[in-house]
């Protein structure tokens, strides 16, 4: 019994079918619960009620980066071990990651307007997210452009690897290029920089909720991809007969 057995689409479909309802339920519970809890928190003495944007902004930004890392790992697994589910999972994850990046950018703009007095600033954090979004768009655009499914998986895999290196490089390049307006990490471990517990615990819950939301969406989308692949195989067989 090994983890690699779930690279078998039949096994993956069986397991994901069993897990999916629970994942959807847990995601809805954590996300809605965390957002309601976050909405009920007291207003910040400096930022007023706009501080509540943090409960969408930070989890979305966290997922935007982590989904790209997940795509990188899935691409490597595909390129090294040729597990089809892995390639399809990377394909299924990309639009979710792009939307998470957009949510982080949009909520950041809505938050930045009252706080900094500007919708957009060429700040390293903001700019590197915009670049990350461009990488997502390129990756998503390459998938349907290649006719053969395995070639598409190979090419997007290589793009993901090279893109990861350059996304990281861009991150540090823009840091060099311009000084920041955005504050540091929201969940710093240093005691003096930590957020107050009133905000921290609902934030943890929404982060868990966004992770579960990604898991649920990823399972749904990967299952769709597998079914689409099966349908294409069946149609090809019909056409030959």
């Amino acid at each position: 019994m090994s983890l690699w057995e779930y690279a078998n689409p039949v096994k993956f479909m069986r397991l994901s079918g069993a897990v999916l309802p629970w994942a959807v339920f847990a995601a809805a519970f954590c996300t809605i619960g965390g957002l309601v809890w976050g909405f009920l928190t007291p207003e910040d003495y400096r930022q007023g009620s706009t501080v509540k944007i943090v409960f969408i902004h930070v989890p979305a930004a966290m997922m935007a980066i982590n989904i790209w890392v997940m795509m990188l790992v899935a691409s490597l697994i595909w390129l090294i071990r040729r597990h089809h589910v892995s390639a399809l999972a990377a394909k299924a994850a990309a639009p979710i990651g792009a939307v998470m990046t957009l949510i982080a950018l949009a909520t950041g703009a809505i938050w930045g307007q009252p706080m900094w007095g500007t919708w957009w600033e060429w700040d390293p954090r903001l700019t590197s997210f915009l670049i990350l979004f461009l990488f997502y768009v390129g990756y998503i655009a390459l998938w349907p452009a290649v006719d053969d499914a395995d070639s598409a998986a190979d090419l997007t895999g290589w793009l993901c690897i090279v893109g990861s290196v350059f996304a990281l490089l861009s991150r540090y390049a823009v840091l060099f290029w311009n000084q920041g307006l955005h504050q540091g990490a929201s969940l710093s471990v240093a005691p003096g920089e930590r957020m107050s517990a009133v905000y921290r615990y609902p934030l943890y819950l929404t982060m868990l909720g966004f992770f579960l939301l990604f898991l649920a969406l990823l399972l749904i989308r990967t299952r769709t991809e597998i079914r689409r692949r099966r349908l294409a195989a069946l149609q090809a067989r019909e056409a030959r007969a």
């Binding site: 461009l134 768009v137 070639s151 290589w158 350059f166 861009s170």
Partner: protein, 218 residues
């Protein structure tokens, strides 16, 4: 490998359209910018480093799809893939040929275009140095993008979408070198980063590009 380089160079110069097209595009861009911005010398001098680098980037992009597409069409790419030299070497040589036909003319002509954009004469050496160090990275990354999109029907448009985000770090450090040179500040750090990017792309991109080519030739 030298024969391959000479062949690519001859093709680029004789086939028409490739050689010098990037240079003409660069000239057009440098002519258009003052019309868009206004002819104030101080403003132009301020934005000249960025404009020159963006221009170099776009001029480079213009000729990228020629790196592999023509060879794929007439079948010589298949021959090169089965030739005794490794495909990684083929990629490196073709990127080098691309650099000689588009990057190098830009480097040589850049002071002239800097003059058009009112760049201070003292900055010219840094403009040339930053382009000289940075443009090989543009050709290498472009070769990777061209290798990925070579078999695709609508590759050209996709190519720019894939390659331009990869160009961002090179652009930042390249323009930074000129900007610091204009201010008289130390440009050692951005220059070192720029050289580092170029060295890393020279060393690693041929492998990724060759892998992408093999997929497309399969």
């Amino acid at each position: 490998m030298i024969a391959l380089l000479l062949r690519d160079l001859t093709l680029a110069t004789r086939a028409g359209g490739g050689f010098g097209l990037g240079l003409a595009f660069f000239l057009i861009l440098c002519t258009l910018v003052p019309f868009g911005i206004g002819p104030q010398g101080a403003t132009l001098a301020l934005i000249a480093p960025g404009i020159l680098w963006v221009g170099a980037l776009l001029a480079c992009l213009l000729s990228l799809d020629r790196i592999f597409a023509l060879d794929l069409e007439d079948g010589s790419l298949d021959l090169l893939a089965t030739a005794p030299i490794p495909l990684e070497g083929v990629v490196a040589i073709k990127a080098l040929a691309h650099w000689i036909t588009t990057g190098l003319p830009l480097v040589v002509a850049a002071p002239l275009f800097g003059l058009l954009l009112n760049l201070p004469p003292a900055t010219m050496p840094w403009l040339v140095v930053s382009l000289l160090v940075g443009t090989p990275a543009l050709s290498m990354l472009g070769a990777f993008g061209a290798a990925i999109t070579v078999g695709l029907r609508r590759g050209g448009l996709l190519l720019s979408l894939l390659v331009l985000p990869l160009y961002i770090p090179t652009l930042i450090f390249g323009a930074e070198v000129i900007r610091r040179g204009a201010e008289g500040a130390s440009m050692a750090t951005p220059l070192a980063f720029l050289a580092g990017i170029t060295a890393a792309t020279l060393a690693l991109i041929p492998f990724a590009a060759a892998a992408a080519l093999r997929v497309n030739l399969r």
